[in-house]
Symmetry: C2
Subunit: 215 residues, 2 copies
């Protein structure tokens, strides 16, 4: 199985590397990094760039596609080569997946219409613009379309995919290999459980960002 991880400028590194780490060492899975033009791609943090990727047209029919999110997602919403590649991949892929705001790119390409999906909690209201229904789960499985919530949800998503691709023993081997027995220091990982003033701070930053102010 060939799993293509999509890069674009301004992707969030952990969105990509979390699931990459899980899936790369699953027997039978070959992971590839792809981007519109190939070559190096800089993440949201300018000091962290991936050195190389394959151009989209060299990976025409992957079995699995994963689209990460990140601030650069906003520049990937217009139709163009990436959307065309995603639609073409969708015709033969077994799994079309995303982490965080990567689902908005899948949605803008027309792949989530009428489907349940998730995204980063700050972007949940945007899915409806593309005919998708936001589901408040950490990993949403709607047929072959599997979307994860914000950033760190990509690890949970990839373990779920590993179970589907290679079985529960393979998924547990990967979980134990990455020693994934998380101990978050706070109950702050969800807007439902974080202290209200912490939630409000991020909502305010989002509003400032959307209105062109300093985030």
């Amino acid at each position: 199985m060939r799993a293509a991880f999509v890069l674009y400028p301004g992707f969030t590194a952990l969105d990509l590397v979390g699931p990459f780490e899980v899936l790369t060492f699953v027997p039978g899975v070959t992971t590839l990094l792809v981007s519109e033009h190939g070559g190096p791609v800089t993440s949201e943090a300018p000091q962290l760039a991936l050195a190389d990727s394959l151009p989209l047209d060299e990976v025409p029919a992957p079995d699995l596609v994963l689209v990460p999110g990140g601030p650069g997602q906003a520049d990937q919403m217009d139709d163009g080569p990436l959307h065309a590649w995603l639609r073409a991949a969708d015709r033969s892929a077994t799994w079309m997946t995303s982490v965080c705001t990567g689902s908005l790119i899948l949605a803008a390409a027309g792949l989530l219409e009428g489907r349940r999906a998730t995204t980063h909690w700050l972007a949940a209201d945007q899915l409806a613009r593309y005919g998708a229904t936001h589901s408040d789960e950490r990993v949403v499985v709607d047929g072959k379309y599997v979307t994860g919530a914000g950033v760190s949800a990509g690890i949970d998503l990839a373990l779920r995919l590993t179970e589907q691709i290679a079985g529960p023993d393979a998924a547990q081997l990967r979980q134990l290999s990455i020693e994934y027995a998380p101990e978050p220091p706070y109950a702050a990982g969800s807007p439902h459980t974080a202290p209200p003033h912490v939630v409000q701070t991020l909502l305010d930053r989002k509003d400032a960002s959307l209105s062109g102010g300093a985030a």
Copy 2:
């Protein structure tokens, strides 16, 4: 505060990117990627390389050092420029930290003698060789030496560091930003909770790997 993330060939990507993602966006923290010679460094997965890093001698006195683990750790155990840099950094740094088998590099450089530390569960017996005492916690804090267990523990470690560096609100903001409300699909993230046959499979692979057989 300058936080230097150490790269070497064969590092595990998630060991580095998990804590990088948390710490990069903490106000007052500047994250840097460093490696012995600078430039691009390839991870454990050959298709994933980071495009650039600073040579060690350009970052002489970081405030925080983080050493990731990975199969390449075995080639970083002899004294040399990295160990010398780690010892020099230790003299002025506020925090000396590691994820996974990165602690073995700190230990081999002489920095964990007489201290409590952790590492990947498969490597726990190796800490004693360097005078460190293995502690069975996910994140071990012994003064300014903070070590994390395997791979994914770097996220928990970085949130704990964020609390120390910038306070609990800052840590909770980062946790909510990366939507870190994990839902591991199994209780397989620790050798104490994973099914015995899953644990045994990884122990057997380790033995095969150490004896030169196919992993």
